[in-house]
């Protein structure tokens, strides 16, 4: 850099650079609604029906899509970075990740997929996670960018005069990162249960993320986990016979479900 401010840490890594628009806290995303997935659960392909009960098994484990919104100052703002603060931690904590991010005017809508213990027919209670969202300073609403009467701290500006860092506005500090790869298939056990397939994923990958030693309280940690792909599971059943229906009696039942984690 020819001018400006650049601060490096004890390991000679860049901590603050006035050339780059650092992300700052813009608030918790606002919860709007929850819906069960998969959406086809208990659906029934009646047009091809031979006997009743052609739907996914009610014994499979399901999840919830939890929807949130967060405001920005512009309909052209980039997507905010929203970190998930799970409702609990440990091996029994639910898995969750962001599966949909879409614009709604100057706001963004975020869908979080969270696993639910129990089964579809006998679900257990759940607590939804919090989403802590971050954005560059120049896309904050006026209330998000307000520092009030606080005059303590450090601010940096780019060569064009845009503020790129302000310690009063809770700049994002990423203390660990890890590249993860999803399993190539969501379920290896049989899905077949006749007309009532089970799509409960049984594959997962575990990763340990090394975080900087300056952060020691695990209960304060949160993570950012955007989804990159759909995992689609398919199941076919068919039967042959004589009869007269719109499609004849060579019936075919097809079902599939998403499990993005």
């Amino acid at each position: 850099m020819a001018y400006g401010l650049q601060i490096k840490n004890d390991d000679n890594e860049i901590l603050i650079d006035s050339d780059f628009a650092h992300y700052h806290y813009i608030g918790k995303a606002t919860y709007s609604s929850t819906s069960h997935i998969p959406t086809m659960l208990d659906g029934n392909n009646t047009q091809h029906s031979t006997t009743g009960g052609q739907h996914m098994s009610s014994s499979q484990v399901n999840g919830d899509i939890i929807k949130y919104t967060i405001a920005t100052n512009s309909s052209s703002s980039p997507a905010p970075v929203c970190f998930i603060k799970p409702s609990s931690t440990g091996s029994s904590a639910p898995h969750c990740g962001i599966v949909v991010t879409k614009r709604s005017g100057s706001s963004w809508e975020l869908w979080v997929l969270q696993t639910r213990s129990g089964t579809y027919s006998s679900p257990t209670s759940y607590t939804r996670p919090d989403l802590y969202c971050f954005s560059p300073l120049n896309y904050m609403t006026s209330s998000q960018a307000s520092v009030g009467s606080n005059t303590h701290g450090l601010a940096t500006f780019s060569s064009s005069g845009d503020k790129t860092f302000d310690s009063r506005l809770k700049p994002l500090k990423i203390i660990g990162a890890q590249v993860v790869n999803a399993p190539s298939i969501a379920r290896t056990a049989s899905k077949s249960n006749g007309w009532n397939p089970v799509f409960t994923p049984d594959q997962s990958s575990n990763y340990n993320v090394t975080r900087s030693t300056s952060e020691t309280d695990a209960s304060d940690l949160m993570f950012y986990a955007p989804s990159l792909a759909h995992s689609c599971q398919e199941h076919n059943e068919n039967t042959d016979g004589d009869g007269f229906q719109a499609q004849g009696y060579s019936s075919f039942f097809y079902a599939w479900a998403r499990s993005d984690l």
Partner: protein, 96 residues
Amino acid sequence: MAYGFESRDSNNNVVYSTQDSTWTLLYTATANANQAHTFTGVPEMTTRLVTKLMVDQVNGDDEAYVHGHSLSGTTLTASVPSANNTVSTFFMVFGK
């Protein structure tokens, strides 16, 4: 700390310190659905990571893919794994 840098808020809590470590956002770009892109001018640092986010992902039960990518020097290349089912992808390049 005996030396280095600390930024504190009005309550005297440390906001940033040279004992911290973080990833700096270097570059963002949005690749349009079903289109390959070549983005140039990506700043370089010793270590970089690319994150990808599906934007305006198709709702419901439709097939959809995020762009593939490669990062070399100052060029970020986004490829489409599916000509018709690749959604808009928001790229973020972090460095430290």
